[in-house]
């Protein structure tokens, strides 16, 4: 219960950040990716701000914290290999990101704005996730868990 409350508040703050940064505005995202046309560099600064804060936080946790406040240990992905799966997955994701202007977090937050088109995007995204996970389970016989 305590973990769920913390996760909820974290999600809320994350969502507010996405809205302030305009990551939840598909026109803004597409403007950022439109480097050969009318380029809007704003989202590069979103990355600078987020990576700046998180890098520091991560470094501090390595230096100071033995364990997280509400959990027994820090969990990191186990995968180390740069394989075809990572490369193909990132390329497929990027193509969809450019085509729609949404990545997963902002899609969920902007689903709250009330525009039915976003709900359709989110439904398709969930379907795409399920398709991969089912296909993967059939192909490997196990559920992969080593992901970000």
């Amino acid at each position: 219960m305590k973990r769920a409350i913390v996760a909820f508040l974290t999600g809320l703050l994350f969502g507010v950040g996405l809205i302030v940064a305009q990551m939840t505005n598909p026109a803004k995202v597409i403007g950022f990716l439109d480097i050969t046309g009318a380029w809007d560099p704003s989202l590069a600064l979103v990355m600078v701000g987020a990576i700046g804060v998180y890098s520091l936080a991560y470094w501090l946790s390595r230096a100071r914290a033995a364990r997280p406040f509400f959990a027994a240990e820090f969990s990191l992905p186990l995968a180390r290999l740069i394989d075809r799966r990572l490369v193909a997955g990132a390329l497929i994701f990027g193509a969809g990101w450019g085509l729609g202007g949404f990545c997963p977090g902002p899609a969920i937050t902007s689903a709250g704005f009330g525009e039915p088109k976003v709900w359709v995007f989110v439904a398709a995204m969930l379907a795409g996730m399920m398709v991969f996970r089912l296909r993967d389970r059939v192909a490997t016989g196990v559920v992969q868990s080593a992901s970000e």
């Binding site: 994350f14 969502g15 809205i19 380029w39 987020a50 497929i92 997963p104």
Partner: protein, 143 residues
Amino acid sequence: MTIVNFTPLPALLGGVLIGLAAALMWWLLGRVAGVSTILGQTFSTAEGELNWRLAFIGGLLLAGIGAQWLVPGAVHFALSAGYGQLIAAGLLVGFGTQMGAGCTSGHGVCGMSRRSPRSIVATLLFMGAGVFAVLGLRLGGAL
């Protein structure tokens, strides 16, 4: 190339808030704040690991509902793509983030901050693919 609509301060501030939220998830729960993985694992998660994931997703959604309700003037949103394009985009984003084990938050923010080679490669690739997709839209007359 021309530079348009540049909003450096809100972008930086929003980024700081995102980084702070991800940092809290790391310090308090010891988890990577990667939205696509948290979302994807709600389909196949172990007992006891589902609630916090759903709560995080609920927080993201409530931020959108609350902002639209309380401060609609502060919500900037413009979406020109049609339903067909959005369905195709959604399928690609869903499939690709599960296959590539991360998205803009997990690889782009958290992984890049840890200087994870996998995340650096993934981020460069999905940004590159996004640039090409938008170039395709522009050449196809959709922009």
